[in-house]
């Protein structure tokens, strides 16, 4: 897929996420917008998945470890064809399946793990990667973490085990938007130097601009290194990316856009209402 096409999908997904937030009063908008480009690149450029066979044992797997990014994941899975886009009309409705966090794989095709409690997704992704090796299956596992999520000790437990096991079918993206719910992630728990931390934990780590589709595609296309290391991509992002008045403003962790703000956002993104 051409870069322009990926960028177009990202714009479209952003428009839908904001519309959904407005309509259903769903928070975490800033967090959902910062990881759109990463997830579009992963899903539309990299993952070998077939919506007709969501349980294919050889499929690649994506784990949204920062489960509060579910509104982004739901839009992407619909766009990929795991379920009709119209199904998302029931988002947040009583008795529905689309909650603020992903349900279990048994309840929605395309979901690999029910996340939401932070620090769970990476250990699960590691288990999947190890299972692939134990069963001689040639699949890749990609996990997306929040920078705030890196507060959780279980992330670093998993990081150590992945290195010890020389897992080389696991790639982690850290959506480094520099914010968590109540403040700058650097101030809350001294996160920096983040890429050095991953490197020190034995990972093949690099930094990229998490909104640059070219860099994302490049990092996903790299030949799997033979060093027997898991890969960590610290993706520098902007919370609320794509809408000028939301960018890097942590109020949008919980704020819900008004009708006027939605229209303005759609205008900036150049997508239809």
């Amino acid at each position: 897929m051409e870069l322009e096409e990926l960028q177009g999908i990202a714009r479209e997904i952003r428009g839908r996420i904001i519309a959904n937030s407005h309509k259903t009063k769903t928070p975490h908008l800033g967090s959902c917008l910062s990881c759109v480009d990463i997830m579009v690149a992963v899903y539309f450029h990299s993952l070998r998945i077939d919506p007709a066979k969501p349980k294919d044992p050889g499929r690649d797997r994506f784990i949204l470890s920062k489960g509060h990014g579910a509104p982004t994941l739901f839009q992407i899975l619909a766009r990929k064809g795991f379920y009709p886009e119209a199904a998302l009309e029931s988002y947040g409705q009583d008795g529905g399946i689309f909650a603020e966090h992903p349900p279990t794989p048994d309840h929605l095709p395309g979901i690999e793990a029910a996340t939401g409690s932070l620090g769970h997704g990476l250990p699960i992704a590691l288990g999947m990667a190890l299972a692939g090796r134990a069963q001689n299956r040639n699949y890749q596992v990609v996990a997306l973490l929040g920078d705030g999520e890196c507060n959780e000790g279980s992330i670093w437990e998993a990081a150590m085990m992945a290195a010890a096991q020389r897992v080389d079918n696991l790639t982690v993206f850290i959506d480094f938007n520099k914010w968590q719910a109540t403040g700058r992630s650097e101030e809350v728990l001294a996160l920096n130097p983040l890429v050095d931390k991953w490197r020190a934990f034995g990972w093949d780590a690099c930094e990229i601009d998490g909104h640059d589709m070219g860099q994302l595609v490049e990092v996903l296309s790299r030949k799997k290194n033979s060093k027997g290391k898991p890969v960590a991509v610290v993706a520098h992002t902007v919370k609320g990316k794509g809408v000028s008045f939301m960018e890097d403003d942590n109020n949008w962790h919980y704020r819900i856009p008004s009708a006027e703000e939605l229209a303005l956002a759609h205008k900036e993104l150049g997508v239809g209402a």
């Binding site: 279990t104 029910a114 250990p123 999947m128 134990a134 279980s154």
Partner: protein, 311 residues
Amino acid sequence: MRNAFADELTRLGVDDPRLVLLSGDIGNKLFDKFKDKNEGRFFNCGIAEANMMGVAAGMALSGLRPIVYTITPFTTTRCYEQIRVDACYHNVPIIIVGTGSGLSYAELGPTHHSCEDLAILRVLPNMTVMAPADEVELRQCIRAALKQDGPVYIRIGKKGEQIIPKNDDNFEIGRSITVREGSDVCLIGTGTLMPTVLEAAEMLAAAGITARVESFHTIKPLDEKALGDILSSYPVVAVVEEHSRIGGLYGGIAEWLASQDEKMKGRLISFGTDDEFMHEVGSQEYARAKYGLTAGNIANKIHAAFSSSSK
């Protein structure tokens, strides 16, 4: 019991390539044979139990049958949220084994005691909870657990447990086993305290009271049929467990009993640990005695209860 566990897993692993064993930095020598016979299927996850449980869930979601093994508090309370979310919410087939449960590691202090595990695991949706009495039941538990589609918790002892003689070899999850017949009172036991329970029954017999002894190797789901039979037949029923008297097997049976429409004949007595941490040092034997988990104490209390019930 630990040796039987390792031996059984080694055999089962050879037949089932899906079986993988995860250990939290214990049992290195114990699992040497497993590692030999099942190459690439033993994972030392280090002292990082939250991750270990998540890894197990990821493996189970990918078609493997993980068995997670470490000392009971670390495979239960330490990583409780991972058990709740990763194992139970996803309803994946993980077998969680807690070794040295109850007061087995009494001398290591309360950090290593586990008198709450049955209570906290029993409440989790999808979870099956088992406490085999001896290595025979343990082997049966593991084989049955591997046929389940959801998570199973098995609490075991350490080593040197007595084997309980039984006539009934028919093992099913959620079906209790009658270890001894008796018509006056009934003792319901679970886990490795069973020899003590049987000894109490012997002492009662010497005093002219015949006691039925029932092994409840499954705490959840409860054998409601057996309970209905027992509580409508015996005037005194005792539950004996190396666990807090809050929330374990007694708690489960009491909840069940309270929900029954029919008035039961039985008076339900609980033998278990007090609602406290044990601050003094002591062996397992000492600790059991401290909480009245001795054949003598159990027999005396049952004797007194039976005498007052038949007045």
